[in-house]
């Protein structure tokens, strides 16, 4: 069965880019344009992996991740952070809030499915 990936990204173009590349590698994708929607879709769809942008309208990525990690239902879903910032602070903060990996923009879209595979493998969800 295809693994489900939830993409929480407010930039249409980037969300589409991630979606098309993951689907080409056999993943099933769900899209959310903001944090609130992302949290709702997580509970409804229970994805295997979440790709989470940090700068989002409303709840930001950090807050979304914090809420995911405090909910026992969603706690174990690995989170891949996306950010245009290359700051080391952000990288360490992503680890603090329980992010699995921190990917900076611009990223290689073709590599993203491999990163997702690796994270799934590490978390034992494959």
């Amino acid at each position: 069965m295809a693994k489900k990936v939830l993409i929480i990204e407010d930039e249409d173009s980037l969300s589409e880019l991630i979606k098309v590349n993951l689907e080409a590698c056999g993943f099933c994708t769900i899209q959310a344009m903001d944090g609130e929607t992302g949290l709702k879709k997580t509970l409804a769809e229970m994805p295997d992996v979440i790709i989470l942008d940090i700068r989002l309208p409303g709840l930001n990525g950090w807050e979304v991740c914090r809420r995911l990690k405090t909910d026992s239902h969603t706690r174990d879903i690995p989170v891949i952070f996306l950010s245009a910032s290359t700051s080391k602070d952000n990288e360490s903060r992503s680890k603090e809030v329980g992010g699995a990996i921190f990917v900076t923009k611009p990223f290689d879209a073709a590599l993203l499915p491999k990163i997702v595979d690796k994270i799934l493998c590490e978390s034992g969800r494959e």
Partner: protein, 491 residues
Amino acid sequence: MSYKTKLLLAISLISITLLAITTSSIILLSKDILFERTSTKTDTIGKILVEDIQRDLAEGIFNHIEGVITTADNQANIEFVSLVNRKNNIIMYSSKSELCNKPDPYKDTGDIGNIKGDIYIRSFPLEYAKYNFLSVQLGYSLAEMRKDLNQISNRAVYINAGVVIFILFIAWFISGKLLMPLVEMKNAADQIANGNFSPRLTVKTKDVIGELAASLNNMANQLDELTNNLNQKIQDATSELQQVNKELHNKTAALEDSNKKLKELDKLKSEFVSMVSHELRTPLTAIIGFSNTLSNLKLSDEQKEKYLKIIESEGKRLAGLIEDFLDISKIELGIISSKMTRLNIAELIKETIERIKIPCDIKIEMNFLPDSLYVFGDRDRIKQVILNITDNAIRYSKPGGKIFITAEKTMDEITVSIKDEGPGIKKEDLKKVFDKFFRSKDSIAQKSRGSGLGLAIVKGIIEMHNGKIWAESEPGKGAAFYFSLSSSEKA
């Protein structure tokens, strides 16, 4: 021992010595006079006796001789009178005398000054040839003379003791009086030594002490003047130092201020660079990502077209961002060029709004009074102003929100307002909204995807046109941006 005591002692010693010498001289002189007088008196009585007795002897009146002797004996101070022969046997003596019981005759006592006893004894030989073996012996009592001498000595001593006391008193008084200016000078010198230069002495005399007092006054004057000069100099130096210190303080404050500003500027600069890189990353990621996707994946024609369009729009967005960065750089460097023409602002607004992609849930209402409003400005730049403010209003509008754009003429100015129904701006942020990269901390602002330079560019352009720009807001009820431009060519 004080100087006064010493002086007093010296005067006393001298006076006592002088008086002692005088006293002893007086006593000695008195003694001599008294001795002389006594011996003369004895001699006189003796001579008279000798003459009387010789005459009686010559006339043969022997019984008269006894009477003569007795008469002589009755004279004051005469102790005894006797007539003795060559062998010193007493032949006759005065009746008062007690010599009748005396077996041995008297011996002459010699010089009056050497007598130890109370009686001065002298013999006077008779010169009458027949009786020249006889001599008259006279005893003269010295008791009265000694009494007188004692009295004189006592008086001299008493008077001189009184004089000594008087001299001592005068010496004490004079020395006190003489020493007074010295004491005053000493006190003044003490005060001067302690740093008080105010005491001055009254110069009364023209002697050494007076000169000393004058010198002391002079010294005090010079010291006073010197100290005053020094104090003045110290005061001047202190105030100068204080002034310099104040200036230094001000300069330090100014330096700190400019340092702070520089730091802020530096921070803004790095923020600018960081923001620029951040803003460029998203469209770049899309462009690179979709280009790779198009060449790597097998896609339908429909998908290909869609992605190519994304690449195009992201490319345009990138171009827009770069344009904004360039604009703000030009504005900040003051090298922006402008072509000033007469513009119908209402038409320009309408034209600009038509070209904006407005979300279907946001409505824009325009109202212009009157319809034809003209301003002088650079067409493209004013368009950019309208575009940026409206774009901003759209980004902060809630779904279903409205944006009101008005323009009206006031005096020789045209004021344009663009109001939204968004979250509004906090009072403390009203002035900051025109700063580069300023973004409200409200959560909704994070939806903003502008360059963060839109309003900064707007402000730069309006100021370039000598116009005014400001923002008003009631938090929760939306924000309004106003700009006014001159309707005449002069501006």
